[in-house]
């Protein structure tokens, strides 16, 4: 193996790490306690060496078809890559469709700490039609009731805890 190729591989890996670190730190504009990486909507970042340095492309998937935050997220990711010194671009990936299963364990914990009940596991259709048992993010009681199928954003429903009376958002499972 020659030394030049090894160096190139290492540079590539470092640039990728830098680009991922920049893009993955972008917070979701509507749920700012979690990042786009926590939500699983930042799918990948690719880097390439150009005459002027490095270029980076972020691959982002929308949560809901009509999510009004999509454009804001794409612009924020592009800006983060630019700030990190990359010639940046963002590509929207439709397939496979995003599911709440892609929210990381860390993301779920951050949502809970923020007062939003994370989606109950399993994105199957059964989960959609049977009402899930949603745990109160404040007191962890399972004695909760759905107030409204739709909440303040496309991805959330309204619940209330019967134990501590706290109303809270539930991140819907899709």
């Amino acid at each position: 193996m020659n030394v030049v190729a090894l160096d190139e591989n290492r540079d590539m890996a470092l640039a990728h790490k830098r680009a991922w670190a920049a893009a993955s730190a972008v917070p979701d504009p509507e749920v700012p306690c979690v990042t786009v990486a926590d939500l699983g909507i930042l799918r990948d970042v690719s880097v390439a060496q150009t005459a002027d340095g490095w270029s980076a492309t972020a691959f982002v998937t929308p949560t809901y078809s009509g999510c009004p935050a999509v454009l804001a997220i794409e612009l924020a990711v592009e800006a983060a890559l630019l700030r990190a010194g990359f010639a940046a671009s963002v590509e929207r990936v439709m397939s496979p469709a995003w599911t709440t299963d892609w929210i990381t364990d860390e993301g779920r914990e951050k949502l809970r700490a923020y007062g939003i009940a994370p989606p109950v596991d399993g994105s199957s259709k059964l989960a959609l039609f049977a009402d899930p048992v949603v745990r109160c993010p404040r007191c962890t009681s399972e004695n909760t009731v759905k107030l409204s199928e739709f909440g303040s954003t496309a991805c959330k429903a309204q619940y209330q805890c019967r134990a501590c009376a706290e109303p809270f958002d539930y991140f819907k499972c899709i």
Binding site: Y64, S65, G66, M94, S95, F150
Partner: protein, 261 residues
Amino acid sequence: MGNVALKPFADRSNLFSVVLALADDHLILGHRVSEWCGHAPMLEEDLSMPNMALDLIGQARNLYAYAGALEGAGRDEDALAYLRLDRDYTNLLLVERPNGDFAHTMLRQFYFAAFMEPFWAWMAQNSVDETLKAIAAKAQKEVAYHLRHSSEWVIRLGDGTEESASRMGAAVEALHIYTDEMFAVNADYQACLANGVVPDLETVRATWHASVDRVFGQAFLTAPEVEFPQRGGRDGLHTEDFGHLLAELQYMQRAHPGLQW
């Protein structure tokens, strides 16, 4: 506007017309539902209406972007959504019907969602068109919520007070005549069906009927026999209300051509 990854199917003109009709259905119903924003009978519904409208308009955007690419004539999603004349829109008559009261709106939503749910489900699983498959996979999950939400309301109002039951009954009388058009197959659709792009609408009809029977059974409603089903939207022949809707929908692009934000 978004750059959806495109893998156009070979038979473009048939597919263009079918995708455009589907896009029109979603834009027009999305617009109708958005008219409730700030007017819904309770706060929860004031949240749910714009949420459903956003889903529908988001699905329409994906479909228009794909239609524009299939057409290859340089029309983007805005040009297709805002800069056509009434006769060029091929949406179902059902989706352009005025909102009426809350019962009318929820029944219209239920009829359409019960149609699109099996439609998207088939497409997400089986379509040979990769772009439509990807759009369907997202839309399927969204419309499942619309179906559940609107079903609950049809049942709640149908099996509610004398007043709510009579309103829901009136909605069935007014809107059921428009449902048959959902299953009408024209030459373009037939070509796409033969190519494995879109579902067999008789199969979709069977699922739709099962949903209607199930929900109407719980709501104490009866689906009327329709002697003369109303059609025309798929041929660009619309109801009078559609012109008023377009005037509102297109105002901004007509007054300020090329406006973007």
